[in-house]
Symmetry: D2
Subunit: 456 residues, 4 copies
Amino acid sequence: MSRFREPPDPVFSALNASIGFDRRLAAHDVRQSKAHVAMLAEAGVLEQAEADELQRGLDEVAVELREGHFAFHPGDEDIHMAIERRLTEIAGPVGGKLHTARSRNDQVATDMALFVREESEGARRRLCELMGALADLAERHADWPMPGYTHLQRAQPVYLGHHLLAYFWMFRRDVDRFATAVCATAELPLGAGALAGVNWPTRRDSVARELGFDGVAENSLDAVSNRDFVLDYLSAAAICAMHLSRLGAEIVLWSSEEFGFLELGDSFTSGSSIMPQKKNPDAAELLRAKAPRVAGDLSTLLGVMHGLPLAYNKDMQEDKEHLFDAVDTLNLCLEAATGMLRTADFRRERLAAAAGDEFLAATDIADLLVRRGVPFRESHAVVAGLVRHALEEGKRLSDLTPEELARFSDRLDDEYYAVLSSGSWLESKVSEGGTASARVQEQLGRARAVLAGMEP
Amino acid sequence: MSRFREPPDPVFSALNASIGFDRRLAAHDVRQSKAHVAMLAEAGVLEQAEADELQRGLDEVAVELREGHFAFHPGDEDIHMAIERRLTEIAGPVGGKLHTARSRNDQVATDMALFVREESEGARRRLCELMGALADLAERHADWPMPGYTHLQRAQPVYLGHHLLAYFWMFRRDVDRFATAVCATAELPLGAGALAGVNWPTRRDSVARELGFDGVAENSLDAVSNRDFVLDYLSAAAICAMHLSRLGAEIVLWSSEEFGFLELGDSFTSGSSIMPQKKNPDAAELLRAKAPRVAGDLSTLLGVMHGLPLAYNKDMQEDKEHLFDAVDTLNLCLEAATGMLRTADFRRERLAAAAGDEFLAATDIADLLVRRGVPFRESHAVVAGLVRHALEEGKRLSDLTPEELARFSDRLDDEYYAVLSSGSWLESKVSEGGTASARVQEQLGRARAVLAGMEP
Amino acid sequence: MSRFREPPDPVFSALNASIGFDRRLAAHDVRQSKAHVAMLAEAGVLEQAEADELQRGLDEVAVELREGHFAFHPGDEDIHMAIERRLTEIAGPVGGKLHTARSRNDQVATDMALFVREESEGARRRLCELMGALADLAERHADWPMPGYTHLQRAQPVYLGHHLLAYFWMFRRDVDRFATAVCATAELPLGAGALAGVNWPTRRDSVARELGFDGVAENSLDAVSNRDFVLDYLSAAAICAMHLSRLGAEIVLWSSEEFGFLELGDSFTSGSSIMPQKKNPDAAELLRAKAPRVAGDLSTLLGVMHGLPLAYNKDMQEDKEHLFDAVDTLNLCLEAATGMLRTADFRRERLAAAAGDEFLAATDIADLLVRRGVPFRESHAVVAGLVRHALEEGKRLSDLTPEELARFSDRLDDEYYAVLSSGSWLESKVSEGGTASARVQEQLGRARAVLAGMEP
Amino acid sequence: MSRFREPPDPVFSALNASIGFDRRLAAHDVRQSKAHVAMLAEAGVLEQAEADELQRGLDEVAVELREGHFAFHPGDEDIHMAIERRLTEIAGPVGGKLHTARSRNDQVATDMALFVREESEGARRRLCELMGALADLAERHADWPMPGYTHLQRAQPVYLGHHLLAYFWMFRRDVDRFATAVCATAELPLGAGALAGVNWPTRRDSVARELGFDGVAENSLDAVSNRDFVLDYLSAAAICAMHLSRLGAEIVLWSSEEFGFLELGDSFTSGSSIMPQKKNPDAAELLRAKAPRVAGDLSTLLGVMHGLPLAYNKDMQEDKEHLFDAVDTLNLCLEAATGMLRTADFRRERLAAAAGDEFLAATDIADLLVRRGVPFRESHAVVAGLVRHALEEGKRLSDLTPEELARFSDRLDDEYYAVLSSGSWLESKVSEGGTASARVQEQLGRARAVLAGMEP
């Protein structure tokens, strides 16, 4: 079957063979072969009877694969050859006609596009679950005050529901990114042949329709050289994994004794081999830890494609393991995030106590002065002085006397004390998208509408 | 102006200050301040007279910046502070009112979104230029045969125009990616305040409209923590730079004496300090070399955002230099690619000679057998045997006698010799997107239509 | 001066020129030119008088560069050409002899090696300062208890001095890495010419000695293609920056109100543009944020070198900006870390209160059972049961009655309560490298010895 | 065995369990357990009889693992637990004593250090094989002229042996890097316990000696938080893989019909599924393609460690898969490179024909003028003019008449023609490390000496 006289060296085979991982494309490969055969018959390249035999054989192969008794042979270099080999065992010599008018180059690009499309949709479904869990949690904790942080310093209070919804909108954007990845697979590579097109009057549009593509790739060289859609998936996955790492990192932080904002359920934590008291937020740590891995998958494939001349090069075989790794990592992380959040038990008092820190009202005091005509920059300076004074005296802001206030500004009267009586700091954040309750309810409504729009 | 008693350490200032690079956002910063002031007046937070003074002051600042005589002060930590400081010098104490109802956190996010939007559109324009140059070149070389390669081995002949158009479609996809980056900036961060919203009845929609956003960010915490749109730009840029690296690498290859497919103009090449005969394709090499840099910018920002708790953290200041570096790198590379291609002088004879290699017709011979009923897999084996035989005998395929052919198959008659007479190998690739002339013409038509659709 | 008829396109010049950044190598370039000239005279390639003129001219160039009045010309493509151009202006036509027996390829490799060597030594010096600051801090806080954490959960108490010394040993390893980078520059590239050696009887050993190299590169092709030493520096820098990011992240955490373990000085923190009460640990955040940048510099250069054929390619010009960026970033971070730590004010009571958490003694209770013959795995289970019981009852471990203890094990007597009386948990960690005071003192002694060995 | 009431969620188990990959550490884990048990007995923590039982049990476990009939249980979360579980089945309750005075934190760090040490030595051995193959090839082709390239343009001729030796020295440096990685594992983590040391009078030095460490980690917190040695391995591997990518890329290039410098053997190449004539250099392409993968493993682990607080965090479990992937990839690539090179069949005539290109002598002509007193910069310009003239006239340099020469310089006499008579261009590169035959022989001698010094 080849122009070669010597068999491959075992080291070469180990380096070269992709069967260890590309078997994962098996179902897509059979599916595209069936569409290809149908088109060849339609175009008169195959007799209908031949096509029927091939279809029956492919169906049998599909069953063997699905049921797990497809027997791989040592010589099967890749999944395409394995399937053709088995088909020929089942259907006889007609199996040798399957590869008419195509090449492994357009074939594997097509398998990969089908896989990316399926997994992009899978990621969207899992994101939808996670967003649902976040919306539920946000609803249940819509009016629980907690400190909002910048620089990990308490900054201004927010409602826990508002904080949780911040993640909702991050993942919402990820949904769009995976939709973009789906669009990136809209053009069918099959029919590009090895690189130049094929010697047959094919009907690529008909194959495209059958396999769910919008159209056909415009240029055969590009069709077999292109892995952009894999990069689009990986880019979406890397950003999504980064979002998950932020969620994981916050859960780790909040689970610490020092923050004490929540306790995860036993089913998403683990113990220590030596310290019997430990309850470790392993799931949250791993959400954090997995992001560089997915980013690594992306940067690796960018590196592989770097400077490659057209058209197909063997280097492109390296697309698969990185994609599969990213898919598995992301899917598991999304499911774990959803499951973990559902076990989260927030601690209202700890959150409220932290949110009650009076210094969080400093901006509100400054804004009080602004409402009395003091330019913001000046009022900011007045309040900074008050804060410094209070810290030095070991007092709370509300402990300062009117006399002390007067040293800093002549416009601080009883409303100063009113502002400091907790609660109004949150409700005063009335701007669109702010943390005031009415705004959080608006936001929840929009989140629910988004989810409703995503359901099948 | 602060709660602090000690001045910053010079080492801290050097680490902390962003004025060295964020001054690049100056025009966007003034623009957003003007929209902000207009809204504050509209909402009754500022008197109209105050707003007018601020607008006049900001206009003056804008002029100073544009004309390059804006004087930065040593204490200007960042561009926002520098502009407010200067505004206050110009307009007096009312300048202190500019920062009412906003924070640097939502302010910088807004500047960055404006910048990303502008540069995404700039990238699209530059891509359009490059695609135009490619279409022109493809048109002029639509019927120049050359070898197509896989694994850098001659595989099947294609037309040079077809090969050049492969790059056209790559860059076409990049255009879509930058359009996605534009969409990623659709929501206005301003109004999110430090993280929780602001204490004022703002009209964010009106600011959004003024600044060209589609709407406002739904969640204030997310608005100030979000740098996804920068990542979307960087991801588009990294993939585009990878495409450019492939183009660069092929030009380097084709410029070698061994390939000899083209000569670049003097204006895009350089000499050697020691070897007087050298004409080096530096521009093409640098197109190749810059891709890892842009990929590095992307992976760095993913790394910076990794595991960051909400909301704003100082780490996010690291978004700027990487974005600016990617923008500058990509813009220069796109322009250089366009300019370089316009100087390319292809060598018809060298291309044709390489394309005339008879072994490139092997697939066509195999397909001849298929048309005579031999399953492709078997016909492939027959031709592989022929090739091996020819190589061993030191003959060309067309030198083989009918007797020699008969040893391999009984279905090889005179049409064998007809197929081998060059030219038909290209024209036989008639599938959609293939290299046959009619298909290349179709493709050129589609490329021209795409360009027409992009023109302003 | 060239075989070219057309001038470079401005876009090409912008892409190609390195003078914007490689001027940083100027001092090294002059230094190597002086050594080169001395050798050429020694070898009889130059007359002594010519050499003297060149040396005088180079000295003048060096002065101009040092004093900042070296005038760069628009046509100066790189620092090598700029210096030779200026030299020729000063010394006349003999300046044209400087480039005898060398090429820019070996020249720039030599400059880079000199730069890497100097900066590796600079990094070691800065690390030494930082390690000194850590040792001082550790000594002052040698006996302050605090919780040790795993998974950010309190695990076992340690002394703060012990915790701080953990960083000392990390940076100690970085010192070794930079020493390795110095070794990587041991072989002189100069004399390799463009790639093949030069047509002159050079005395490379003498140049090597003069410039502080141990010997000469064995192979001229490798000499001009090699950037390993830059990668060695970048790898050391990336790991060191990662260490700094861990230190920065802990300082951020400890500066939070929730942990409250330390307060940084005003000179290494900053305020908020909107929230007057804020004191943000910006320096610590930036130590964290800069690590991905240095890692990005490393991965970019690995990407640039990927798949480059021998010998010199223009791509290699991309080594400089990434190296310079890493050097500047790392140097600033090391200095900021040292300065910031010196302002750290730890809070003894907050640390002690957290360390007093009785659950931290769980391992010690388990070990008590082990001393009484219970296998560790079983004793671990017993104590886990006790912990669960205590949590469910809302009791501290020391509140459990002998009757309650008896339900879990018959070997828990009064020593149980003795173990729980705080303090002994730390002092019982007597293994080498453990946190018991005697061990920490041993460790401090070793740290001081290391520092003594590093001092000049 | 835990304080937990609920079992782990299956999704959590899937995310959390490391048994799928850390079983690879099994042999090291048993080995360290044996050393640990011996030390515990020596220190009186275990009775000698108990230790004997544990040793016998561990030996049995080792046999089961080695012979492949060790039965993993569904509940085995990691290899450490699996081994202890099985040991307890074999040896009874005394198995529960194995984990006395250690934690999984110091245990896994020790396993990893043992693994890195072993694999660093394995990489050195494989590099030694590859360097041997290169030296052999270089020796056989020591005097085969070929063009040396810069910018992929023919620059100056070199001997093929000289070119091949350039790779020898690259890999020589990699050997040093893996030696550095071995040194990075010199300190034993075991005995650090969970993070603070252990409550037992251990003898860590004795364990260190038994397991081949030079000493013990100085600080228990650092010991369990440190993965520097993994990064050191990955950094060495990434640079080595980059070297392999350059070798692979050149072999791909040289295997092209256009270069035609070599043909690889059948056993390291493969055919095409569609083009019967193809012989593709897959092995060389994959050497190129794998480098970004190893670089990705490095950057991922740097990303994982970024900003992690002390001491152990679950994130660090991510060290394993990346290390294992890099080890497997590098080992296979080194073996494939060695095997592939041994099948390389260089084509003397093609190399010589390319090396005969007269323009490669341009530097030699310039140097001729220098010997006659013309400053190099001026002579370079003269020869550039000659080259341009020859190209415009379509002549070779040796075709130019004395009259033509005179137009460019009055110092070009008959020696001009002598220089151009091929051969002397190579032999004139007499500088140390140059391509002149005597220098190549010197170099081969040094290479042989290096190999001799590495042999066991």
